[in-house]
Structure formats: structure tokens, C-alpha cells
């Protein structure tokens, strides 16, 4: 066990954890932020995606120790008032069904649009193909990413 400081959404959390514990469980069980989801635990589904120093990572496959003292953004840190372009687009296009995969989808889409504000279909495929949606919201995810790109130019 080790004492580890997590910088989650610009707030410090000091936790006692096995350094090998995946960041996912530290965020959910120890820091108590449950927006980040468990779907597979083996980097196959993308439900657990968070930003580590701005880069999307699978928190189920990152040991908590390697995320210590780094800036981590979870879905809760994107905005709580749904004001980011991606969140607005997700509402406009009515993407979520059950919603369980959507935290991960939104974190991946946000990272994509940050580095590529005008993605093509191929770019979207590449950025989103690691994310499973069992409800099958894929057509709307694609549409929403394009809508978000447009919303970003309007600002």
C-alpha cells in the first residue's frame, strides 16, 4: 500500500492504494468519481477512458502509481453544465441510449476534436474504433462528432 496523490479535474485526492491498482478503480472506489466506467478491464471497450495530461488513456490498464501527480480529467471534469461542444452535440443528436459507454465515447471524441477540429470519417473511425457501444449508437456518435466540430467553429 502506498499513499498516492491523484490530481483529478484540478482537485487533489490523497488515497491509500496498492500501486498496481488500475487507475479506474482508484478513481471509482477510492476517489468516488463514478462517471468513468468499467466495461472489460482489458483495454478492449474504451468505457474507462480518461485524459492523462490531455491524452486519452484506458484507465483500466494504467496502474494508479503511474498517474500520481499528473493531471487527470474524467467526464466530470469536462464540464458539469454540459457546456462543451461535444456534450452539446451529444444532446443535440440524442446519442445516448443506456448511456453506459458514453463517458468513454465523449472523452475520446473530445480528445479527437482537440487535436483535429475538423475530422474526416476516417479520422473518426481511427479515434473511435476502440469504443464499444452495445446499444449501437454509432451512427449518432459519428453525427455528433461532426456537429461538435461545427459548434466549435461558431464560438
Amino acid at each position: 500500500m502506498a499513499s498516492i496523490t491523484l490530481k483529478l479535474n484540478n482537485k487533489n485526492y490523497t488515497i491509500e492504494a496498492d500501486p498496481k491498482m488500475p487507475l479506474l478503480w482508484a478513481i471509482r472506489d477510492l476517489a468516488g468519481l463514478t462517471g468513468t466506467k468499467y466495461g472489460c478491464g482489458i483495454a478492449q471497450c474504451g468505457a474507462c477512458t480518461v485524459h492523462l495530461e490531455g491524452v486519452p488513456v484506458r484507465s483500466c490498464s494504467v496502474p494508479v502509481s503511474s498517474a500520481a501527480n499528473k493531471n487527470i480529467t474524467t467526464i466530470e471534469g469536462l464540464s458539469t453544465d454540459n457546456s462543451t461542444a461535444v456534450q452539446r452535440a451529444w444532446i443535440l443528436e440524442q446519442v445516448p441510449q443506456c448511456g453506459y459507454c458514453q463517458s468513454g465515447q465523449i472523452m475520446a471524441a473530445s480528445a479527437l476534436l482537440k487535436r483535429n477540429p475538423n475530422p474526416t470519417d476516417k479520422d473518426i473511425d481511427a479515434a473511435m474504433q476502440g469504443h464499444i457501444c452495445r446499444c449501437g449508437t454509432y451512427p449518432r456518435i459519428r453525427k455528433a462528432i461532426k456537429t461538435a466540430a461545427q459548434l466549435m467553429t461558431q464560438k
Binding site: M1, A17, D18, M21, P22, W25, A26, R28, D29, L30, G32, L33, T34, G35, T36, K37, Y38, G39, C40, G41, I42, Q44, C45, A47, T74, I75, E76, L78, S79, T80, N82, Q87, W90, I91, Q94, V95, P96, Q97, C98, G99, Y100, C101, Q102, I106, I124, D125, M128, Q129, G130, H131, I132, C133, R134, C135, G136, T137, Y138, P139, R140, I141
Partner: protein, 721 residues
């Protein structure tokens, strides 16, 4: 069973809805003996000793709370139930607060969210409920003003006097309105005056699903809650002989190791639970467990063995039948005939949110929170196992990260209750993805042997299907294994029964230790592949256009749907070098026709260019939710047709996670265009009926393009052309 109703407790409503000063609560009561519905207000219910469930509560500030009695697993009941009530109540959706009802079958009628039943099962009641409340509010206002009721109307949460423009908002009226008797008869709105129903209104649960605030079962936490994972027998019916937890107990955070049971269709299954102060520690502790299983009492099948048995069984005697005429002689005499065998795989539900449940067992009650499709079933199950009256078993629904039938099953809450009771603390049981994918129950694998004949004038002369597969209703101890299984014809268009002179559907259930359960659209999800592929084979044998062939057998409602399909797809003008396939199925009282267009890629693979769907679900609430459900159903069908299956080896499920059980990904999803028929037919299901026709439409399209029939699922689009 208790048959008399209890007294209503007003305090419960207030607590339930989180309102203060609740003034009007209005709901149904279901009498214990009949399905008759009464609408009651709180005051009337109280004096007559009826238990009232509050679907609508309005407080003195005019705040409206509507209850949703069904699970929200993505299909949109969270939106559509309130959308119906609000229409007749004349309130805007942004004026209302929506909450989930706890499990209580006596209060709410069936709450099991399955069979695409939420709207089709209760829409008339919900509309009448909203209308009754509205009329009581109007009557109160009219009295206060001393005017005629008919001179007043309700709009946007207020009652308005037409002549003077005077206005009361509902909050000013509720205290008086609550004292009135609900009207015996109410007039429902004319569909053309709808303001909310049939409008593609945004879902009320979307905002909380884009910022992490929606609470799913896995997100629910109680103070002092511990986390448990369970090692269950990897072979389906294994029993624990003994275990060694020496290493487990050394894992920091591990608190308890105990044997647990789980109620699987009335059979107690065994496992060993590891309870810790976080999920990861519990998982680590479980890895260190050593368990010895007794799995000698049942066969350890492989997929190949299961299918060999089913293939044998369809050649033998059927135990149950639905028949008309004589298919044997009709087939023998026919000149043009077709025989084909179709096979569909076992499938895992693989909801994105793995199974989980929180239970807190205290001295005086049991409380459960979880992603639950059947809260009333779970309440009954826990009451009977733990010998408690229903008021001591509280089942709370969270959002569900998918359900698809799996979360209607009562095993996982039972396990959580058992652990909490033993360790005397609140606990969350988490199924890992591997548990979720390997323990089952699964969609049963099926084999269909079809024989059919076409007549000289190109119609279906006879249609025979022999089915073998595990029957979902035969798993409980003492189940009747002899009578006709009506599910054998699910997915087949009712219209065919009226126009095919000789038909027969027989069934020879497979016996196997693999547990099986409803999977989105249930029997239709596999039956439709056989039936609609075979209809296509008969059409080809008759040298007829696949839509024209179907058309000559089907009545007006189907004709309208086929016309629409032809029109939106440009069916008649379809070009060369592409394949078009059609399938039409009926499931949970909705008819859906789908057309798939395919082509060959330069490197010889099949590409799905586009999918069209026409949904006829009769009376409907929210067209955007319907479209989303059909899109999702098609994606799920695409996975089961071309990507994944659960196989078995030596009595164990082989595919354990998404690396082996491959899901469709965003780049594999074709364009999907959904149309909805407008008519005044009875409301049908929405969440499932879009799934069954996709696969046969796809394989029929591949036949159109390549001349190859695909009769076994799953198949790879990369290896077909």
C-alpha cells in the same frame, strides 16, 4: 399471498417523491383479483383502504413529479412514460421531475421490462391517468371562479378561464383538487391535438448521461459499503467441495471469504465470494483462491456436441406442434420444393454494464439497488427465499447500462442479499466482464429444418419447420416439457397463417446444462433468420420478386408497409452489381420490414452499403426514440450475424471478454434509414422488433449478389464473396 390492500400511507408518498407539502397524488390501484384498473386520488384511496401508487404528484408550488415504473436500460421508457402522462396532464416536460418507482407488482402491475411491453402494455391507463388529474384541476378552478367547467381549459401547468383569461397554476389548485373524486370517464385528446406525443422530443435522461451524473447500478454506493466478487463454478452446475483462502486473506483490503449460492431458475448454484474494501482488492483476492469443484453430475458439452444433438433431434419426433392441413402429403406431391437447415449460435447478452447489485440487509428489512429489469420479480424472489413480507423487501432501480433480457433474471440480486446478510454490512457484488460473459444465461443456439413447396401459380403450398434448441421455459424444476411451445412461431408473420394452406411448426427441445434466457427480441431473434431466409428461398424457387412473392400472401397492413419499403429503397429500380435483400417480421405486436443493400469490394469482401427499416408499431409516443431503437437493434443484429458467438468446450464457455467475443465497431456500421408508419393500430413494441429482420435481409441480399445462401450464423463478411 395477501389479497387485501393495505392502507395508504401518505407519508410514504412524500418520502418517495422527495416532495414537501405534496397535495395531489394520483395513481392506479390494481385489485388483487382482477386486472381492472381504478384511478384514485390520495384522499379517496385513504378512506377506502386502497393502496395507491402515485404516478403523478403535484405540490403546492406546482412542481409535478411523475413516476416511471419501468426500467430505463436505453430503450427510452424514462422519457416515454412521462411523455404520455404529461400530454394529457397538460404540462411541459421541462416542468416535471421524473423518478423511478421501486419494485412492487401489486402497486404498479407488472414492472418486468421485457417483451417490449412498456408502452403497449400501459399506454391507455397512463393517458387516462393524466387526463383524470387534468379534469380534477379544471373542476377545482371552475368552482373557485364560479364558472362552468367547459369554459376553462388547461395548458402548460395552469388552468385558464377562456373568457376572462384568468389563470391558476396547478400548485394553487392541488389542495382542493385532491379532495375530489377522480372522474369516472375522461375524454382523451384527439391525436391530432397532441403537443408531446408523436413529437421527437429530446430525452430527459440525456443531459445526465453526458456528464457522468446518471447513476447506474455499478455507481451506487452506501456508507460503509464493501465490494464483492464471486468465483462461480466454471462448469454450469458445479458444486463447491472445499476451498483454500490462505493467500486470499493476505491481500490487503480483503475482509471476508464465504460460500454463496445463486438462484438460477429455482436451482441453487454455488460459488465462493471474496469481500473487500474496494473492487480491485476483491478481484486480487479472488485470483488467489483455490477451489475444488464437484462437476461430475452433468455432461461437459462442446459446441459441436450440442449441435450434433440438435441436428439429430430435428430429424426425429417433435414433442409439440402447431399445424394446419398436412405438410407431409403436400410436400410429397409438390413439384417445386425446397429443403434447408438453418443454425444460429449461442450468444451472450454482454450489456456494457456488467451485472452488479447492491444489497443492505438489516434487522428489519432488505434493501436492494441495482440495474434491474424486473423489480417486482426480484421482490417476490427475495420475499420467498428469506420469508419476508413485501413491505420489508425494497427493490430500487438505478439506470441500467443495457439489459437485453439478462437483467430481468433474479440471480444476481439474490447473491448480493445473501452476502450482505452473512457479513452484516452493505455490499456491492460486481460481475467482472469474464463472469458476465461465461456464466450465462445465454441466448440458446438453435437448429431449424425447413421444408416447403410452391404451387403452380407461385404461391406457398406448404411450410414446415422442425426446431431444436434449448427451451427457455423448461429450466425450472418441474417445468412442463410436453405442451406446445407457442414461441416456435414468434417472428413469423400472422398473415402467413391465414394464407398458407399447409403449415406445421414442431419442436424438440434440447436438454443441456447451459442456462439460457431471453435475448433482445427473444425467439424472434433466431426464428426470423430461418423463416425469412426460407421465404426468400421459396420466392427464388417460384422465380418471383421477393417483395411481390410476400405480397400475394399478406393483408392490407403488410401491403402498406411493403409499399413504403419499395418506395424508400427504390426497390424496383435497383441496379446491377448490388445485392438487395428484404425481410419482414412480426415481434411483440409490431411489424418491421428491412432492406439491406450490399456490394463487393475491390478485394472481394462484402460491404453493407445501406440498411432501410420501416417500423409499424401502431400508436406511438416518440419517433426519435423509435429510430434510435431500430438503429441499435440493427447494430446488435449485425454483431450476432457477423461478429460474435459463444462457444463451449469441455463444459465451459470459451469467449471470456471482448478480445474474443468481438463487437461491431464504428467503422463497420452502415448507413441506417428508419421510417415509421403512421396509423391508429394498437401500440406495439419498440425496443426489440427492429432486430429480427436484419439478419435474413442481409443474407438474402448476399444471395441476390452472389448466389450463395448463408444458413449458419455467424459468418464473416470478409470471407463470403
Amino acid at each position: 399471498m395477501e389479497t387485501t390492500s393495505k392502507n395508504i400511507s401518505r407519508r410514504n408518498f412524500i418520502k418517495l417523491s422527495g416532495l414537501t407539502g405534496t397535495a395531489l397524488t394520483l395513481g392506479f390501484s390494481f385489485s388483487a383479483s382482477a386486472n381492472e384498473l381504478d384511478i384514485w386520488n390520495a384522499a379517496a384511496a385513504e378512506s377506502s383502504g386502497v393502496e395507491l401508487n402515485a404516478w403523478i404528484s403535484i405540490d403546492t408550488n406546482g412542481k409535478v413529479t411523475l413516476l416511471n415504473h419501468r426500467s430505463e436500460m436505453g430503450q427510452g421508457s424514462f422519457q416515454s412514460v412521462p411523455q404520455m402522462i404529461a400530454e394529457e396532464l397538460e404540462v411541459a416536460l421541462d416542468q416535471v421531475n421524473i423518478i423511478f418507482a421501486p419494485g412492487n407488482g401489486r402497486k404498479y402491475g407488472s414492472q418486468v421490462t421485457g417483451g417490449s411491453s412498456t408502452i403497449r402494455g400501459s399506454y391507455k391507463k397512463l393517458l387516462r391517468l393524466g387526463a383524470s388529474a387534468r379534469e380534477m384541476l379544471i373542476e377545482t378552478a371552475a368552482k373557485k371562479w364560479g364558472v362552468n367547467k367547459s369554459d376553462c381549459y388547461a395548458e402548460n401547468g395552469s388552468v385558464i378561464h377562456r373568457a376572462s383569461g384568468k389563470k391558476f397554476h396547478y400548485g394553487e389548485l392541488v389542495t382542493e383538487a385532491a379532495k375530489l373524486e377522480p372522474p369516472k370517464d375522461v375524454v382523451l385528446k384527439n391525436p391530432k391535438d397532441y403537443k408531446l406525443i408523436r413529437k421527437p422530443l429530446p430525452r430527459q435522461d440525456t443531459p445526465m448521461k453526458v456528464n457522468g451524473k446518471a447513476v447506474f447500478g455499478l455507481d451506487f454506493k452506501l456508507p460503509g459499503m464493501l465490494y464483492a466478487v464471486v468465483e462461480r463454478s466454471p462448469r454450469f452446475q458445479g458444486k463447491v467441495i472445499k476451498w483454500d483462502d490462505t493467500e486470499t486473506k493476505k491481500v490487503p483490503g480483503v475482509k471476508h471469504v464465504l460460500k454463496v449460492t445463486r438462484d438460477e431458475f429455482g436451482n441453487m448454484r454455488e460459488g465462493v465470494a471474496v469481500v473487500a474494501d474496494n473492487t480491485w482488492a476483491a478481484m486480487q483476492g479472488r485470483k488467489a483462491l483455490k477451489i475444488e469443484w464437484d462437476d461430475t453430475a452433468f455432461p461437459h458439452h462442446s459446441t459441436e456436441e450440442l449441435y450434433t444433438k440438435m441436428r439429430d433431434q430435428v430429424k426425429g419426433e417433435m414433442i409439440s406442434f402447431r399445424t394446419m392441413g398436412n405438410t407431409t402429403s403436400a410436400f410429397a406431391k409438390a413439384e417445386k420444393k425446397v429443403e434447408a437447415t438453418y443454425e444460429t449460435p449461442y450468444e451472450s447478452h454482454s450489456c456494457m454494464e456488467p451485472l452488479n447489485c447492491v444489497a443492505n440487509v438489516t434487522d428489519d428489512k432488505i434493501e436492494i439497488w441495482g440495474p434491474i429489469q424486473g423489480p417486482d420479480w426480484i421482490q417476490q424472489n427475495i420475499c420467498s427465499h428469506f420469508k419476508l413480507p413485501p413491505e420489508k423487501v425494497i427493490v430500487n432501480m438505478t439506470f441500467l447500462g443495457g439489459g437485453f433480457g439478462r437483467k430481468a433474471f433474479t440471480d444476481y440480486p439474490y447473491e448480493a442479499v445473501m452476502i450482505s446478510k452473512e457479513i452484516k454490512a452493505p455490499v456491492q457484488v460486481i460481475w467482472t466482464r469474464e463472469d458476465d460473459m461465461t456464466i450465462g444465461p445465454f441466448r440458446p443456439g438453435m437448429v431449424y429444418q425447413c421444408k416447403g413447396a410452391v404451387t403452380g401459380n407461385g404461391r406457398i403450398g406448404s411450410f414446415e419447420t422442425k426446431i431444436s434448441g434449448q427451451n427457455m421455459d423448461m429450466q425450472n424444476p418441474g417445468a412442463d416439457k410436453t405442451s406446445y411451445n407457442g414461441s416456435d412461431t414468434e417472428g413469423f408473420l400472422e398473415g402467413y397463417f391465414e394464407s398458407i394452406p399447409h403449415y406445421s411448426f414442431g419442436d424438440s427441445p434440447l436438454d443441456s446444462p447451459v442456462p439460457v434466457m431471453w435475448w433482445r427480441s427473444v425467439y424472434s431473434s433466431t426464428n426470423a433468420f430461418a423463416f425469412e431466409s426460407f421465404i426468400d428461398e421459396l420466392a427464388a424457387q417460384a422465380s418471383k420478386d421477393p417483395i411481390d412473392f410476400r405480397r400475394q400472401h399478406l393483408g392490407e397492413r403488410y401491403q402498406l408497409l411493403m409499399n413504403k419499403l419499395e418506395q424508400v429503397t427504390g426497390w424496383k429500380e435497383r441496379g446491377k452489381n448490388t445485392g438487395y435483400g428484404v425481410a419482414i417480421t412480426e415481434c411483440f405486436s409490431s411489424i418491421v420490414g428491412e432492406v439491406v443493400k450490399v456490394s463487393k469490394t475491390a478485394d472481394g469482401k462484402i460491404k453493407i452499403d445501406k440498411v432501410w427499416a420501416v417500423m409499424d408499431c401502431g400508436w406511438y409516443v416518440n419517433p426519435d426514440i423509435i429510430k434510435a431503437q431500430v438503429e441499435g437493434s440493427i447494430v446488435m443484429a449485425l454483431g450476432a450475424a457477423t461478429k460474435h458467438e459463444t462457444t463451449f468446450k469441455d463444459g465451459k464457455a470459451v469467449e471470456r471478454n471482448f478480445d474474443a467475443y468481438k463487437m461491431p465497431r464504428i467503422q463497420e456500421i452502415p448507413e441506417i434509414e428508419v421510417h415509421i408508419m403512421d396509423n391508429e393500430e394498437k401500440a406495439g413494441g419498440v425496443g426489440e422488433p427492429g432486430l429480427p429482420p436484419f439478419t435474413p435481409a442481409l443474407t438474402n441480399a448476399i444471395f441476390d449478389l452472389t448466389g450463395t445462401r448463408i444458413r449458419r450464423l455467424p459468418f464473416s463478411l470478409d470471407k463470403t464473396a
